[in-house]
């Protein structure tokens, strides 16, 4: 079934209007409907149609992958499988629906080559085997086995494409009823062409009206039901809307006091490439915190404390954090920004960021740098010893210690005789104290609470002497503060694992350490008391599938780079696709026109070798047709002559014309043909008729039908 004229063009325009692709829709519509005014046609074979279908299917798959990644599909589903809960489930669901919406909107573009092939083909039907692998295989098997091959009924792609356009148009932004009424109009148009002639037009129109009424009422009811459900409890929906930055710049909940194994993951999350032969930074800090209330560290402020970092010069992708600072080293960092917003992991003392393609950059007083932009940030960080973006210490917060922790801290300070020591001596003593007397462990066993003043930190310092980095960092910060040395709790990642010339940071490399204020140099310095064995401890018992996990991380990273425009692959891909597309089109179009040229001579030969085509009767036919009595394609000459002779002025010619037709037919259709004398008679009679006709031409002809 072929769609009626202009229906597909109208459907494409409607889709373009609804899905905000109006120009694209108009171009595609003109492309399809132009077939009505051009005679150019291609003789596509079954194989050609199969190629078109394969091409469109590949485009569809590529678009699906693109839409999936562009809508946070991998990260949403990754989070869902790793930590299935309502929020990740909803995130995965949202990602799926966005992917489906995007792909639906593109369907008319993706399958345009296929419908164009159908429209510009000389064939009315495309074999089903061209689009169905199963059917193709069955037919091939039947051929091989010598069994009868069932005829392929074939189909016209017009109506399926029409349906696809309507479906694609349903993904629209407009909240009005334009889609519904447009849909009704187009469906009525399509159904009108296919209506049953058994029923009167009025019956058909009433049936359509009833269907439209039911449809309108149905969609209104669904909208109202949705609104009703949404009003039942808005909190249901609000609770799903929270999004995070990875590390929270405002607070960090530690696992102090938690019992059991601290779960870690080997997933690679950051990649580093040191620049100019400089060593990699030891730590990549994301945030630091100032106030401790067991078991949470707070930054002491709010999100409003973040100040914009200007891009200087504009559109240069250069973001100076400390414009006056001299940076001695550089490193290229690639880090994911979950939810397209996150804290950048930066080396201590970072003064300038370059090649950073983000929309906005903010920093706060505790050294956190918040970036908003693509889901992957790849940038160069230049850093050096000395000043940092952290604010100078404020004595009320950077020296604050919870009252409950004071007794145990004082006990340790007394034991170590720390009071009165210089900063360097203090740090050395603490380093030795934690390094010699403590062990690193991600396991915390159950303990018996001895008294109400007992705290997890106190147990760590006096009883267990074993814990993970959060224990060490918290204890160090509080001990230093108790000694009147300003300190902050820093979180980020430790860099230690090389990968070729570069470095990788895994999720399990997440680390906490201390920032110590050096009063003499007026700078913050990193101080880490966690025993160095923590790295071995974290890396022990690697899973045998780690290589697979790393390979997958690499693939994800490269895909993310491609997706977020952080690589040139996208540009290369376009240049690769162009010749591939050109080659495919060459194969399909040029080859089939060559085949047509090859076959055309046979057709022409067949057309022009028929005998009698030089009959003078044709002159007569031409003259009579010019007088307003043209002959239809399927109308034989005798019937046409009857119509011609019905005109009064030509009534006299009737007998002569029939005699002439008899001779002409013998000349044309009798394999024995005419004798020379009969041929001459045909010629003479025709000329005589023409002359008599010329005389009668003064009289206007009115056709009798």
């Amino acid at each position: 079934m072929k769609p009626p004229p202009l229906l597909l063009g109208a459907a494409l325009l409607f889709w373009g209007w609804q899905s905000e692709f109006l120009i694209v829709g108009a171009v595609l519509a003109v492309g399809l409907e132009a077939a009505r005014w051009t005679r150019a046609r291609w003789e596509f074979s079954d194989e050609d149609f199969s190629r078109f279908w394969t091409f469109c299917s590949l485009m569809f798959l590529a678009a699906l992958v693109y839409a999936f990644t562009a809508n946070d599909g991998p990260s949403s589903f990754g989070s869902f499988f790793q930590n299935p809960n309502l929020a990740t489930q909803r995130s995965a669901g949202t990602s799926s629906s966005r992917t489906a919406s995007a792909i639906l909107r593109w369907v008319p573009i993706i399958f345009f080559p296929f419908i164009a092939a159908q429209i510009y083909s000389t064939r009315d039907k495309i074999p089903l085997a061209a689009i169905s692998l199963i059917m193709r295989r069955r037919r091939n098997q039947a051929r091989l086995l010598g069994q009868p091959v069932l005829p392929d009924p074939g189909f016209h792609a017009g109506y399926p494409y029409f349906a696809a356009c309507l479906l694609a148009a349903s993904v629209h932004a407009a909240e009005d009823h334009s889609f519904f009424w447009g849909l009704c109009a187009l469906l009525a148009w399509a159904l009108w062409a296919q209506r049953s002639r058994r029923f009167a037009v009025v019956v058909w129109a009433l049936a359509l009206l009833a269907a439209i009424t039911v449809g309108f009422a149905g969609q209104r009811s669904i909208s109202q039901l949705q609104r009703y459900l949404e009003h039942i409890n808005p909190q249901w929906f609000a609770r799903f809307m929270r999004r995070g930055f990875g590390f929270d710049p405002m607070q960090s909940r530690t696992a102090l006091g938690s019992v059991g194994e601290l779960k870690t993951s080997g997933e690679i999350i950051i990649r580093l490439e040191p620049k100019g032969g400089s060593p990699p930074p030891t730590y990549l800090r994301q945030a630091s915190y100032r106030q401790y209330r067991t078991p949470i560290w707070f930054a002491g402020g709010s999100l409003d404390d973040f100040t914009f970092v200007p891009e200087s010069p504009p559109n240069s992708f250069i973001w100076p954090l400390l414009p006056e600072k001299t940076n001695t080293a550089g490193v290229n960092i690639a880090s994911y920004l979950s939810g397209r917003r996150g804290l950048l992991p930066l080396p201590h003392g970072s003064g300038r960021l370059e090649q950073l393609n983000v929309i906005e950059l903010k920093k706060n007083l505790t050294g956190a740098v918040l970036a908003s932009g693509p889901g992957l940030a790849v940038f160069d960080a230049f850093y050096g010893p000395g000043a940092t973006i952290d604010s100078p210490p404020e004595l009320d917060t950077d020296l604050s210690v919870p009252d409950r922790e004071i007794p145990v801290l004082d006990q340790v300070i007394d034991d170590l005789n720390l009071r009165g020591q210089s900063l360097a001596q203090t740090l050395l003593t603490l380093n030795g104290f934690f390094g010699d007397q403590f062990t690193y462990s991600t396991w915390q066993g159950a303990v018996r609470i001895q008294n109400t003043n007992d705290t997890p930190l106190g147990r760590f310092l006096t009883q267990t002497r074993s814990g993970h980095c959060e224990y060490f960092a918290t204890a160090t910060v509080l001990l230093l503060r108790r000694l009147e040395i300003p300190a902050r709790y820093a979180v980020g990642f430790a860099v230690h694992e090389s990968s070729g010339d570069n470095y990788v940071v895994r999720l399990r490399d997440a680390h906490a350490w201390t920032l110590v204020w050096d009063e003499t140099r007026q700078i913050w310095t990193d101080f880490d008391t966690t025993p160095a064995s923590w790295i071995q401890e974290e890396s022990k018992n690697p899973t045998p599938w780690r290589w697979l996990s790393d390979a997958w991380s690499r693939v994800k990273f490269e895909v993310a780079k491609f997706r977020w425009g952080q690589s040139r692959v996208r540009q290369y891909l376009v240049w690769v696709l162009v010749p591939v597309l050109a080659l495919l089109l060459y194969q399909i179009i040029v080859r089939s026109s060559r085949r047509r040229r090859r076959e055309k001579p046979l057709e022409d030969e067949a057309n022009f070798t028929w005998p009698g085509l030089d009959s003078e009767f044709y002159l007569l036919e031409k003259r009579l047709a010019a007088r307003g009595v043209p002959r239809a394609a399927g109308e034989p000459l005798s019937s046409w002559l009857e119509r011609v002779a019905d005109v009064p002025v030509l009534a006299d010619l009737r007998a002569s014309l029939h005699e002439l037709l008899r001779l002409h037919y013998r000349y044309r259709f009798d394999p024995l043909g005419l004798s020379a004398a009969e041929r001459a008679t045909l010629s003479a009679e025709a000329k005589a008729c023409l002359e008599r006709l010329a005389q009668a031409e003064r009289t206007p002809v009115t056709t009798a039908k």
Binding site: M1, K2, D124, K125, P153, Q194, R195, S196, R197, R198, A606, W610, P611, E621, R631, A632, A633, G634, E635, P636, L637, S638, S639, Y665, R666, R668, F669, D670, P671, L672
Partner: protein, 316 residues
């Protein structure tokens, strides 16, 4: 076998047609098609409402010819052996003796053929297609003139079995007679006031005449261009929307042969496009199988063929 001139052949046709016209008032077009099928070696399926003269037409043709005529009333309990024949054991000679069925004749009237089961209907397949029957593993040739006129009633559905596609394809033509004009119907009443005029009808052509007519029709020339036109018409039905099963090459063959016979009747020794077009519907339409949706929307096989004839460029 004797060969006659086209004029003599036309005279035979005219004689038979006139003889039938004495009985069949106002059915000259149907008679023309019936005789075209006879002369081209095809078989005919008459489908019309009861009482329109299907059986009478067949009997009129049979009486007009000096040839063997048998009639089989098809019923649901009819068996293939009732048509083809059966081997009977002769105790005296101690051997089987083949008792020929009604198929061993020149003209066979298969009345109400759709009342028999497909099994019995299929018994005619070999006879109609190849002019022979195979019974008990032995091939038996039919007479050189074997012409089947089958009738069926389109308005009855209960207790009927639609003819299978293969069987339909064996019929060269299917056409209807239709109701005659009132004046002609009055003439029928007058003619049958006392007795049926069929009783008085005598033969006007011998078996040899009919065979000569067939030979003369075969000798009518047809150009390659018209053969191609015939094939184009038939092929177009295979790609027409709404047609599930198009016409077979057997339809092309039947159309060409029938057009040859018609050209002979028209006094021509070559075929013209007019003869092809005249027979396109009766020869092709009954072989088509329509898709259910198309049938439901009112499309008929006759309409499809008429449309194909209208749209296909006719040689001129």
């Amino acid at each position: 076998m004797t060969t006659i001139t086209p004029a003599a052949a036309r005279a035979i046709y005219q004689r038979i047609a006139d003889n039938i016209a004495r009985i069949m008032q106002g059915q000259s077009a149907a008679t023309r098609k019936l005789l075209a099928a006879l002369a081209s070696g095809g078989h005919v399926l008459l489908e019309d409402f009861p009482g329109t003269g299907k059986t009478t037409l067949a009997k009129a043709l049979a009486r007009s010819l000096d040839a063997k005529f048998k009639r089989v009333q098809f019923t649901p309990d009819l068996l293939p052996s009732d048509i083809l024949g059966v081997s009977i054991f002769n105790q005296r000679d101690q051997r089987f003796f083949f008792h020929e069925g009604p198929v061993f004749t020149n003209i066979l009237l298969a009345d109400e053929i759709n009342r028999a089961s497909p099994r019995t209907q299929s018994a005619l397949l070999e006879a109609m297609g190849e002019g022979q029957v195979s019974v008990d593993g032995e091939r038996r040739d039919l007479d050189s003139l074997f012409f089947v006129i089958a009738t069926q009633n389109p308005v009855e559905f209960r207790g009927t079995y639609p003819l299978p596609e293969a069987q339909m394809d064996r019929f060269a033509m299917q056409f209807t007679l239709g109701y005659v004009q009132p004046a002609e119907e009055v003439a029928i009443l007058s003619a049958q006031q006392h007795n049926h005029p069929l009783e008085q009808l005598t033969s006007c052509a011998s078996l040899a005449d009919v065979l000569a007519l067939k030979r003369a029709a075969e000798d009518v020339r047809i150009s390659e261009e018209l053969k191609r036109y015939v094939v184009e018409l038939v092929a177009a039905t295979r790609t027409t929307t709404g047609v599930q099963l198009g016409a077979s090459p057997r339809a092309s063959l039947a159309l060409m042969k029938a057009a040859q016979a018609l050209a002979l009747f028209d006094g021509l020794d070559f075929v013209t496009p007019e003869q092809v077009q005249e027979l396109a519907v009766p020869v092709i339409a009954h072989r088509l199988v329509m898709e259910p949706q198309a049938r439901f929307s009112g499309l008929t096989t006759q309409g499809v063929v008429e449309d194909v004839v209208k749209k296909t460029k006719v040689p001129a």
